[in-house]
Symmetry: C2
Subunit: 345 residues, 2 copies
DNA sequence: TTGTATGCGTTATCAA
DNA sequence: TTGATAACGCATACAA
């Protein structure tokens, strides 16, 4: 009772061969009903569980997906839940590893999972990552790999991502429509596509509305709140400071907000603010922060579906790129057209 | 080059036996340096990686820890990072599964990981869980299992948790010291020990300060914000409503805050509020919310250390209970003694 | 110092 | 319908 029961134990007890037991367990057609029932009964009694290890070794698949994410913040955790949902249903188990935005950690994790532990990967690259050899090794092994959310053009693989250009566009368009003239953008790390895409959307909106872009209003900083805070403080020290800021994450928006409040400026009257991710916190702050909403759960599900698809069919899907659309959640921090009197409060 | 290289490939190429290769790879003492070098060189060239699957099957250990958590909110994600940190260093890989506070999901996840995939578990029970058979099955298999954060007295296992009684005490003591007289508590689901412990701390503080507990001020509701909001609305409808609320999570505190604001009451002047978890958001809200801080990262690390300890030594640690101490982060929502004039603002 | 044989738990192939 | 055997990739007891 102590050691887990194996097929051998059943065979020995029933005085039949292991192959027969194996067949009976898997409901093969060519097995005597009497034998099968005996096997089923005994395996029930011993609470037999097939060893996934032995199966994996034999079939050369583990039915496990390695998921590598830079962190587990609100949005990522939601995406992972989406992945989990689909994977579980398809009979896969998920191994989630956080790289903590560290390139080294990302490599270690990948390598570890690569040692015949997983059938493939669903990854989102860390903000430090500039070299993709560890991911390319996955592909050399002909393992399926789907890249999601933080994708990179240096990686040829099926991808699922948000339409970040559209996200940047929506935010900027909205600010312009609200009458803001000097709109700054706090973009993220330069090596990340999401930074550049959201920046591109920003530029696209300016162009559409014939606003001349100003290089001094385009700032790069890391995703963390403190960095955004400091950058905004510097920004507001300028003689002619911007009258609106678009940050490409909500964390950054919060940093910016703290700086704005410190300077005694009011939102949306003196300065407009739009973030990105639509974290629950944005609706709770005062003023509430407008933010670009992304369908995180759906995005995770899509990534997992794409993975399964790639797993089952042999076709090359590496040029597929599923792009989900963002929406803009307009809140107090940027809305001054419909309630101009708000500045009186 | 396509299929991963095995020990056999090396043996064949070098015309030696697999056992020699195996020995050479593991730096055994009784192997000819010349042979070893040849093996090492070739394995390097073929970028040989031992199969963890085969190893696991043979040695009956996977060097993988199954981590089951109810969710991946801020605190949990931090704890998981702590677990990850220690596990990685000890040569273990972590499989994180979210139960989404669902009993069924928790069972499925446990069962899946149990099929010879992991060496043991580090778990935190879902709020729905009232029966622990699935966890007891782990113990029947003599697998190490550490319970953390959400522990249950129905489970005999090494445990790591916060001193929740102390947390409840700190919050309540603080409110009393600030002059609040009718302090309500929004406790969580009744079946969770953390609910009861924090409630116990609340009662302990009342007793210490000779305040008579009032059953009408003790309310149970789920952890989610909406529920806390509705409960608070009801609470404030009473003729003689409480002048302070202690919620056992920050999510609940936010729900309560929304209700308080809706009623037009001011914090801390009209009503005091203290939450639990010290999520970053608490310092950003207006007013900022006082909250009980728990050393989440440390707690995760401790759980993993305990797991490793249990793994390595054969001693029975099932009566061990590591208890970490909380601190109180005092913020605007409850502090009225040191700045009474704040009610004028 | 090296090789042979065996086992880990399972399935597949082939023969009976 | 069933059984013997080999194989998956590795480690190890034992023999050479």
């Amino acid at each position: 009772m102590n050691k887990p029961a194996t097929i051998k134990d059943i065979a020995k007890t029933l005085k039949i061969s292991t192959s027969t037991v194996s067949r009976a367990l898997r409901n093969a057609h060519d097995v005597n009903p009497k034998t099968r029932n005996a096997v089923l009964a005994l395996s029930e009694e011993l609470s037999y569980q097939p060893s996934r290890l032995a199966l994996s070794l034999q079939q050369k698949q583990t039915h496990t997906i390695g998921v590598i994410v830079p962190n587990l913040d609100y949005v990522m955790a939601t995406m992972v839940r989406g992945i989990d949902e689909v994977a579980l249903e398809a009979g896969y188990t998920v191994m989630v590893c956080q790289s903590n935005e560290s390139f080294g950690r990302e490599m270690v994790n990948t390598r570890r999972l690569l040692d015949s532990l997983v059938d493939g990967f669903i990854v989102s690259v860390s903000s430090e990552t500039k070299v993709f050899d560890h991911f390319k090794k996955i592909q050399q092994k002909k393992m399926p790999m789907v890249v999601f959310d933080r994708v990179s053009s240096d990686l040829v693989a099926p991808k699922v991502k948000l339409d970040n250009v559209e996200g940047g566009y929506l935010a900027t368009e909205h600010l312009i429509e609200q009458g803001y003239k000097n709109i700054a953008i706090l973009a993220g790390p330069k090596n990340l596509a999401i930074s550049n895409d959201r920046l591109e959307g920003y530029l696209k909106a300016l162009k559409k509305f014939k606003v001349k872009p100003n290089a001094e209003l385009i700032l790069h900083c890391s995703f963390n709140q403190q960095d955004a805070y400091e950058t905004t403080i510097e920004l507001l020290k300028r003689k002619k400071h911007p009258d609106a800021i678009f940050t490409i994450s909500d964390r950054m928006a919060i940093g910016a907000m703290l700086a704005i409040k410190e300077k005694g400026l009011r939102m949306p009257a003196d300065i407009g603010l739009v973030g990105f991710n639509n974290e629950p916190i944005t609706s709770l702050l005062s003023p509430s922060i407008s933010s670009v909403d992304q369908p995180a759960f759906e995005l995770g599900k899509t990534a997992a579906k794409l993975f399964i698809e790639q797993m089952h069919h042999e076709e090359d899907l590496s040029n597929i790129e599923r792009v989900l659309k963002p929406k803009l959640a307009v809140r107090e921090s940027s809305q001054r057209r419909k309630n101009k009197f708000s500045s009186a409060g």
